[in-house]
């Protein structure tokens, strides 16, 4: 059960392991607890046996300072540090909203000096709450998880309508079914959401223009399961993963491109069946980058705009994809690319990850608002991104606010489409 605590770089782990035995820092938990916290404590103990995480935290607070929530001027601040401290004292209150504030952006993981796997700790705690009922699950998350489980998408939409955005298009240039076709994994938002469908359409048009044959799974595609996974619903995630893996294999795809960084992350890291089946997963922006460098996507029209690029956390912080989207944008003549206060690896989360996109967050407590302010400061006309969640979060927060009315939120595919087509 207990994994060895030796670090990845072959360094010994001192302190929490001693002569092969696990040393507990607080064996005597003389804190009074009720029944539910006993249940939680048992699970926490098991978890920290696996990760050695809670005990090796130095409580230095660098995670809290780095956490995007710290920049919100609300009274109830989320602090990863005190979260861990409370967890190891058995004092964590899972009946509150705290557990659901983490957007899994990964900033804490990047800066933690002791490589505490806080994101995994968070997922484990959520699964304790979701799967064992040890605490509070927001109604919005409950609803999404039940839809994902029963319908394969977050809204209980009809699966047969999943490919509709593509079906009503001019199929004269239809290239699917060809031997060299790549697979476009569209994802839920670009499949169903009216706004995000524009990303999918732009992507399809760009592919047709570049002469790249592609397939979509259509109704055989279900949610990648990233939301379920990060919300702690392992069971639903495993079911969705099994369906997608089976159908992708049936389609014979060798190269899969995902429109969402979220699909990419989970398919790259957690779909173990894909790679063994000889399949490679890439984000769509990598394909665009490739096509542009090959000269397969000549850009005819200048887009004379000042553009700020918002790095999706899953690209910049989790997969170090930072240069490629910028190079795609710079390829469009006329674009003046500007950087916001937080960019690249230090990008600022839009609040949509880790189930955040499904939660209702009151105005004034949204991370996207801080991001929009940063964009305003650069004087950008367009806030570009490469993630349907980021697009939704930023656009929703800007909607109806006069101060943002001159700031347009666009996906990279849409911008490139403007450059390629007149």
């Amino acid at each position: 059960m207990a994994k060895t605590g030796s670090g990845e770089k072959g360094q010994p782990d001192y302190g929490w392991r001693f002569q092969g035995k696990i040393v507990r820092l607080c064996e005597d938990r003389s804190v009074q607890m009720d029944e539910s916290s006993h249940l939680m404590e048992r699970a926490l103990r098991q978890m920290s046996m696996e990760y050695f995480a809670l005990d090796r935290c130095l409580q230095c607070g660098i995670c809290t300072e780095g956490c995007p929530h710290t920049k919100l001027e609300t009274n109830a601040r989320f602090s990863p540090r005190s979260f861990i401290q409370k967890a190891r004292l058995g004092l964590l209150d899972l009946s509150g909203e705290d557990l659901w504030l983490c957007t899994q952006c990964g900033q804490c993981k990047l800066i933690c000096p002791y490589e505490i796997p806080f994101l995994d700790v968070m997922i484990s705690l959520r699964s304790l709450v979701v799967e064992q009922g040890a605490g509070y699950v927001p109604a919005s998350i409950k609803g999404v998880l039940s839809s994902l489980s029963s319908a394969g998408n977050p809204w209980k939409e009809d699966q047969s309508r999943r490919g509709e955005w593509h079906a009503d298009r001019d199929r004269s240039g239809n290239t699917s079914g060809r031997q060299d076709a790549v697979m476009l994994f569209v994802g839920c938002l670009p499949s169903y959401d009216k706004r995000a469908q524009k990303i999918a359409r732009a992507a399809a048009e760009l592919l047709q223009r570049a002469g790249v044959a592609f397939d979509i799974l259509g109704e055989a595609e279900v949610c990648c399961g990233e939301s379920a996974l990060r919300a702690g619903d392992q069971g639903t995630f495993e079911r969705l993963k099994a369906i997608n893996t089976r159908n992708l294999a049936k389609g014979g795809a060798k190269r899969i491109y995902t429109l969402s960084p979220h699909c990419y992350d989970v398919m790259k890291n957690r779909y173990d069946g894909l790679e063994t089946g000889g399949c490679q997963v890439y984000p769509f922006v990598i394909l665009l980058h490739e096509l542009i460098s090959k000269g397969a996507l000549p850009v005819r029209n200048g887009v004379h705009k000042r553009v700020a690029f918002h790095d999706p956390c899953l690209f910049s912080k989790h997969h170090s994809i930072i240069a490629e989207p910028r190079e795609v944008l710079q390829n469009i003549p006329g674009i003046e690319l500007v950087e916001m206060e937080h960019s690249g690896e230090k990008s600022f989360c839009c609040g949509g990850g880790g189930g955040g996109v499904w939660r209702d967050t009151a105005k004034g407590e949204r991370l996207a608002e801080i991001r929009l302010e940063e964009a305003l400061k650069t004087g950008a006309d367009i806030l570009a991104t490469a993630c349907p969640y980021c697009l939704t979060m930023l656009e929703e927060s800007a909607r109806g606010e006069e101060r943002y009315q001159d700031l347009k939120v666009m996906d990279l595919c849409e911008l490139l489409r403007e450059g390629v087509f007149s």
């Binding site: 360094q11 230095c60 607070g61 809290t64 300072e65 601040r77 490589e115």
Partner: protein, 351 residues
Amino acid sequence: MDKRVAIIGGGVAGLGAALSLDRYGIESIIIEKSPNLGGKVTGYAQLFPDFKDGKALVAELIDKARRSPRIRVLTNASIRTMARQDGRFELAMTSGDAVCADAVILTCGFEVFDARKQGEYGYGVYPNVITAPELELFLDPEGPTKGKLLRPSDGQPAQRVAIIFCVGSRNKRLGNPYCSRICCSYSTKQAIEIMERHPDANVTCFYMDIRTYGRGFEEMYQYAQELGVKYVRGRVSECSALPNGDIQVRAENTLMCRPVQGAFDVVSLSVGMAPCSDGAQIAAWLGLELDPYGFFQAKDDYLSPYETHQEGVFLAGSISGLKPIRDCLSDGFSAGGEVALYLQRLHQGRG
């Protein structure tokens, strides 16, 4: 007894070892790669916890060594190769000289952590972010600023100073998970020096834990607080420069559970220590194994802390783990005694 000992490294541990051997009537040769003896201590005007004059200490040690007929010194000397032949150590120098010795004491010391590796603090980018050895130079009455702390960006006096502890220490991500042991104390010493000279200064220390473990260290820490040095518990996540050159520092005050930020004239990074960079090469020549971080391992940490697994090779000072200056010196003295005993046995065995 006609025996000679090669001492590799001419810092305080090496000097201590040479002086100790001298008292036993044993010849030694100090091989130092830099132009001067004294090692890193030559850069410290005052030592903690008693504010002893570091330069005077080094000068005294060097003077004693120079006056001894049994201590030879090679400076600017680097070793091309080293091997053991017929129970003796043959050292070939890059200058072409050869040194022959019956025993070797390794006193190569440590390296200061390169603060550029912790990019979030902006060392090397923002002029007003400096490292502790640079602060030491500012605080040196004989240094370039005559002991005044100035903002490197514009030469104005610095009133607001932040000291960030544990830079390059206790950091698994950077591969230095260990505590460098002396940073808490030397930083506190530096804070005291600033406050004593400028009572209206604002010195804020960002720490994770205060580890003032030695005799007189804790008292020094308490004295610093009496003087008004502020200690904020929290690791700084980021330094950024403001247009006027001020450095903005952000951290969580983990005791208050709330974020803190402040603008400072100068931010000093209390850099930790890393194993000496020549360690791997020397270990390979002598057939020794290093610990996972690159420190030399004693034969037995408890019973024979100065011996190694190779006969005739001894350790002293920070080469086997980071130590304050007092401990390095006493290491040198003790290792000298161990070597004397070893050589006497060797002599009797052969005789």
